[in-house]
Amino acid sequence: VADAWNNTPTKWYPLPIGVGALLLAAVQFRKEQRKRNEPEVVTDGNGTVVKVKHPWQVNVLGALPLRNLSRLWGYLNSLELPVWARPTGYRLYAWVFGCNLNEIEPSDLRSYKSLGDFFYRGLKPGARPVANTALVSPADGTVIHFGVIDDHQIEQVKGVTYSVDALLGIPSSNPAHEVEFAARPTADVDDQEFASVNGIDYSLGQLLGHTALEDPEAEAMEEGTISRPDSPTGIKDVSTTPNDSVDHLQKTAEVAATLGSQSTPPLTRKATGRVKPGNQLYFTVIYLAPGDYHRFHSPTAWVVERRRHFAGELFSVSPFLVKRLANLFVLNERVALLGRWRYGFFGMVPVGATNVGSIKVNFDKKLRTNLPERPAPPSPGTYSEATYHSASALLRGQPLVAGQEMGGFCLG
């Protein structure tokens, strides 16, 4: 190699013009194609063209093939391990990440075929007693932040906020995107007051979907009597729970009793999810570390009426990055489960990450996350929606009791 490096003569000669022209054409074609696939400009409700602005960190991290890495990570961790290597391998993993092997079910480590299988491990019955309070933790993890939502903004970390509307799905000029659950203060707010999401300003009218409210066709679409062909988010009922199972009926009765006379009726387009007079919106953010039990449970007795799947990026959500990357939870792939509890609106949003990009919901078998197709850039209002109305004729949604397993995060 040294000899070749030192003694091979270098001969320079010009490329044929045709090759250069082809190269330039290919570069230009690729640039144009990328422009077409990434709609960097969107229009607000007034027809004004505005540009989507991302923090520079997003552009740098977004250039990395995080989704492909996530899927590769999932594939590698789904490979079946030899039986003899399983106990040692899983004990090593448990030691590194601090897993408690005494509480897992099944307890025989040889029964977990792969690391992905072990990662999604269950717990012995009774390992997690459910407290008798209004709200309990849905997962094992660390409380990153909690508090009252002020002016539609959730504080990600001190001084860095993101919009609750963007987290749960905000309306765009398309009526199908309107948000009836994103609760907002009852006090009248000047329509000129704006919420900014990823650099795009929206009027309060757009946020509330006032235009959509006055559209009889949109009303009919909400009722399921018609569908709008240009809607990017076809709303379908995907309830899969058998309505006549004893377990389901028991849970329905239990949730109905908990909601009681104070329950909020199923939220419709007209309800627009307004907070009841005197009530406030609260939030809680829980981070699950790699060694934590990665299934999530119902934090209270509530009815899930619909889900919104936001196919976004898959950045890491470690506290390190959370402190440095604004709007992280709004950019990442997530599933917003929206419904109601005894005090009104209730929403639960599992947010994916690079190593755990797949989100499972037990009562929604049609939900598919972390798909190989690269999704559109994380623009506001891009999501697919489904309802669970037929899961319970009484409650018009999927009833869940406190502590009931709902789903979980899988590797890759």
Binding site: L135, V136, A183, G278, N279, F283, T284
Partner: protein, 32 residues
Amino acid sequence: STIVLVYEAPPNFQFNITPGQKVRVGQALGDV
């Protein structure tokens, strides 16, 4: 992975947690 809860509650809702606290499934987060 992260879970964000967003919910409506009366103003007397009290959190039983502190930032950075480790929690487990079923542990009390808050009460009215």
